[in-house]
Symmetry: C2
Subunit: 152 residues, 2 copies
DNA sequence: TTTAGATAGTTGCATATGCAACTATCTAAA
DNA sequence: TTTAGATAGTTGCATATGCAACTATCTAAA
């Protein structure tokens, strides 16, 4: 069939994958060099709670595109480091509201310059038009895979 | 500083990251639904060996952007499943040449339609021009992070 | 008011990852 | 020819991930 002849190496998938790997490598490296005890994944959680304090685990898991079990373990580590706290919901004993601690807020603040540097590096020599096209295509790709992802 | 005001959520990094996560989710799902005993990571190794049989572990690790220790363990699992074999280099006892087995080749063949479907899904409603811009910007981003990555 | 099904979060298991330290081997320079 | 440094691959450790099965709790319908 026609299918056999799709050019895998020049399709968007591998290019996207490789680019993200490169970015993640330098992000982790940046945190390490700044002496921050933090992974990229934990940073994303801090970021979300920073703008949406009080989410419960299920809500947060949806936002960060992670399985709730994976997130639960991530949160445990962050709780041990005193970056976040879990507070049992008042109206539902099963559920926890998540909050940044002052320590967590402080750590997040320290990631700012590192993240900004990475963003600047990513977008070096990328024009406004190119950036706009990138984002619109990325949105399109996400929505090609179904509504569930397009709203995140 | 100016730095504080960079718009994290609308920068390329998070958009790229999310998109890749969505793609990977459906790729894994596709393999599972087809009954293939294979992860995305193992598929990438099969793909590389398919076009470059005989690479050693260090060479392959560079190509797939993985730490050699991570790759070593990936290869062990694939060797156990009889997808690949390691053959000690004739001229250097430290080094292994890696080869696909017939089983590995067969499994890789079976991933083809799944991968093609994902690629088609990704590129739905993405014009040739958009795709070209995407790839050129992704290349640019990779090279922004240094020569070491730009050639992979 | 009982209870079946839904929901929030956890745990077991298997996979994947990178760094640092290690072994075995090779190579190039004294 | 010896040997110091380089190189290929492995192992220990800590992290991250998703699926399936689980517990505790809640909710809506009989």
């Amino acid at each position: 069939m026609e299918e056999q002849f799709i050019d895998f190496d020049n399709s968007l998938g591998p290019w996207l994958g490789k680019t993200v790997k490169v970015i993640q490598y330098y992000l982790h490296k940046g945190f390490k060099e700044a002496g921050l005890d933090l992974t990229k994944e934990q940073m994303i959680v801090l970021k979300r709670l920073h703008s949406h304090d009080g989410l419960n685990q299920n809500e947060l898991a949806l936002l960060v595109l992670r399985d709730k079990s994976s997130l639960a373990r991530l949160l445990s580590k962050m709780e041990r480091k005193n970056y976040i706290i879990k507070v049992q919901c008042t109206d539902d004993k099963r559920c926890n509201n998540l909050f940044l601690t002052d320590v967590g807020r402080e750590v997040f603040k320290k990631t700012r310059p590192i993240i900004n540097e990475i963003i600047n590096k990513i977008e070096t020599d990328v024009s406004k038009e190119e950036k706009q096209i990138m984002i619109s295509v990325l949105k399109k790709i996400q929505s090609n895979f179904g509504e569930s992802f397009s709203t995140i």
